[in-house]
């Protein structure tokens, strides 16, 4: 960056030199910018669960909780059952904040531990995950899962793979019933939004 500054400073002294530098200096940058280099060339391509971990963290930024829940001093993200992320979630959320609150991770093994969570990832391989969905809905917790019938079971956001890319689908009715407001920005990038009721009254 300092090199850029230095170049810019000298460049202003002469229009001719500016033009020359323009081509000489910015062109390689452009190449760098425009070429969609394979991720492996720079850093190892993120794994499916690394992406999912990042998404899980980012969901929190586009959801508004009811007053009763949002009063807590920390932003608690929970995983129901075994943690499939393998430390990726820890990596993504380390030192990060959501709506100004620092993120805290918690492992949940029973439904009565769900209270206090803001976001709950439900591992579909956990035997009691369906009851977890119901409990979380009552407690106004955003439920995210990757079970194929997650939305049908009342889950709110379900990860899907589209063209080998991680995307997600949203059950807007479930979120509304729980009193959660999902932002239009989030819905915009969702692969699918399931909504039986007309979308009146939500942001």
């Amino acid at each position: 960056v300092d090199e850029v500054k230095a170049h810019l400073n000298t460049a202003f002294s002469s229009v001719k030199r500016w033009r020359r530098l323009n081509t000489a200096f910015f062109y390689p940058l452009f190449i760098l910018a425009m070429c969609d280099l394979p991720a492996s060339a720079q850093s190892p391509r993120p794994t499916e669960f690394q992406v999912k971990a990042a998404y899980l963290y980012n969901f929190g930024k586009f959801v508004r909780w009811p007053e009763s829940v949002s009063a807590g001093p920390v932003f608690t993200m929970c995983v129901f059952g075994d943690d499939p992320f393998g430390g990726a979630l820890q990596q993504v959320t380390d030192g990060q904040k959501v709506n100004g609150l620092s993120v805290e991770l918690r492992q949940v093994t029973a439904v009565d531990e769900i209270k206090g969570c803001r976001v709950l990832f439900i591992n579909g391989e956990e035997p009691g995950w369906r009851s977890g969905i119901a409990t979380a809905k009552k407690l106004a917790v955003l439920t995210v899962g990757d079970a194929p019938d997650f939305l049908e079971r009342g889950g709110m956001i379900q990860f899907v793979l589209v063209a080998n890319r991680v995307r997600f689908e949203v059950n807007l009715d479930a979120a509304r019933e729980a009193g959660l407001q999902l932002s239009a920005e989030l819905l915009k990038v969702a692969a699918k939004v399931v909504a039986q009721n007309p979308p009146g009254g939500q942001r």
Binding site: F25, F26, F30, D36, N58, K61, E185, L186, V189
Partner: protein, 489 residues
């Protein structure tokens, strides 16, 4: 015509230049101001757009949805000057792009320095504006737009068009204004110049400029010009009047003088003529007295009667001379070619015959014939030669010369002797009647000869003058005008 137009042309040119220059400066100022404000406005508009796009692209970036981002970017289609736009990921990879027309891709993309939220760069033909997209205080990507500056060019063209139109109009206006001024000021100055030229050419001082109704400098100029003409005209007419009066007076005086002269001549002729009778009687009766009563008078008485007779004869001679002079003045002239040298030779022969005892050498040159009255010219030449003969009588050897010479383009005749001469200071009196420079005892004479000569020559349009010194001889020069005519007397 060029001179005529010079003032108005200069005034017109001045108007055109001043209004044109003022307009050019004003246009340049407006244009510069417009450029600045337009660029500022463009940056503000683009900045607002980029902010909206940025905040609408956060989720697309976070959830890796380029389609959504491109969808957001496509909102720029309503901004015609945005040629291309794009969103980069946090590590500067292209995430989504938008181009208005294919090939509008941005080539050399600048980068934001660290901590910089937004920056813009003006290039030759476009403006690039870049803004960081943040989420929870972290940069998650960048959005940029590239706007064409062609609108500035369009505006510039529009400005140039308007400026040209206004320039044309104002130049026309300036032309009209200077036309109006030409009628008002320059026109009158040109009129004044024309009038001055006319006055000096025609010498007509009665011309006037139409009176000026205003009190501007031009009006004052016109008034003073007219006043000057008035003054000149007055003086000119006064001068003309004085001149005419003088002419009239001269004519009147000449007429009076002529009639007085004629009366005088008639008087002197009649007096001389009438005096002849009594003198003849005096002469005759004294002769009778001397013949018949001579003896009874005694010797004293006889001598007295002799004196009376001498005086009477002398008086008779004087009267004859006066009558001759009068005739010379008044007689009619018959012009013919006259050979003066032949005339001089015959006079010389006559003089020698009358006084054969004197030794006088005549040298008479052959001269050009002249036009004149032969009788009058003979009287004049006889007078001059007889004078020379007379005033050389006291000299043992006398030389008398007659000839001609060219002087100042005219023929001058002369009669030269080596006789008694005269005092040159009194040369002016030589030709006055009855003026004698020598005693009657030394040289006999009636004092009328040279006066007669002068009158004759004067009637021939000529003149006479003399040179001489006492005892050094005298030379009489005279001219006869070619084709001489009798001057009115």
């Amino acid at each position: 015509v060029i001179n005529r137009r010079s003032i108005s042309a200069r005034v017109t040119m001045m108007n055109l230049i001043v209004s044109g220059a003022a307009l050019m400066l004003a246009c340049a100022g407006f244009f510069a101001y417009d450029q600045v404000t337009f660029r500022e406005a463009l940056v503000r508009t683009l900045s607002a757009q980029v902010q909206i796009i940025g905040s609408n692209s956060v989720s697309a970036l976070l959830f890796n949805d380029p389609e959504s981002a491109e969808n957001t970017l496509s909102a720029l289609r309503s901004f015609r000057n945005v040629a291309s736009a794009g969103i980069l990921t946090a590590d500067q990879h292209v995430f989504a792009t938008y181009t208005r027309n294919p090939g509008d891709e941005i080539l050399n993309l600048p980068v934001l320095t660290q901590g910089q939220n937004e920056a813009y760069w003006f290039r030759n033909t476009h403006l690039v504006l870049m803004r960081a997209i943040t989420s929870e205080g972290r940069v998650v990507g960048y959005v940029y737009v590239r706007a064409e500056l062609s609108e500035i060019n369009v505006r510039m063209r529009r400005y140039a068009l308007i400026a040209a139109a206004v320039l044309l109009l104002s130049l026309l206006l300036a032309l009209f204004v200077s036309r109006a001024f030409e009628r008002g000021i320059t026109g009158r100055i040109i009129g004044l110049a024309d009038m001055a030229r006319r006055v000096s050419r025609e010498r007509n001082y009665s011309l006037r400029m139409p009176a000026a109704a205003d009190s501007t400098e031009v009006g004052v100029l016109v008034e003073s010009f007219n006043a000057m003409l008035q003054e000149v005209q007055q003086r000119d007419s006064a001068l003309q009047k004085a001149h005419d009066e003088l002419e009239l007076r001269v004519q009147e005086r000449t007429r009076e003088l002529l009639s007085a002269n004629r009366e005088l001549e008639a008087f002197s002729y009649s007096v001389s003529h009438d005096l002849r009778g009594p003198i003849d009687a005096l002469n005759g009766f004294s002769y009778v007295l001397l013949q018949q009563y001579g003896g009874s008078l005694g010797p004293g008485g006889e001598e007295i009667v002799g004196h009376i007779r001498t005086s009477a004869r002398r008086m008779r001679e004087l009267i004859d001379v006066l009558l001759n002079l009068s005739r010379v003045t008044t007689s009619t002239m018959h012009l013919e070619a006259v050979d003066l040298s032949a005339m001089a030779r015959s006079i010389a022969d006559e003089l020698r015959r009358n006084e054969p005892s004197r030794q006088v050498r005549f040298s008479i040159a052959q001269t050009q014939p002249v036009q004149g009255d032969v009788r009058l010219l003979r009287i004049a030449l006889e007078n001059l030669l007889r004078n020379a003969w007379k005033y050389t009588s006291k000299h043992a050897s006398a030389d008398i010369e007659f000839g001609e010479k060219q002087e100042h383009g005219r023929t001058v005749f002369y009669v030269k002797d080596n006789g008694a001469g005269f005092n040159p200071k009194l040369a002016g009196q030589l030709f006055q009647p009855f003026q004698r420079l020598h005693n009657a005892e030394d040289f006999q004479g009636d004092g009328i000869g040279l006066a007669t000569v002068r009158r004759i020559l004067s009637r021939h349009g000529g003149e006479i003058w003399a040179e001489g010194a006492p005892e050094q001889g005298a030379t009489f020069y005279f001219t006869i005008a070619a084709g001489s005519s009798d001057r009115p007397r």
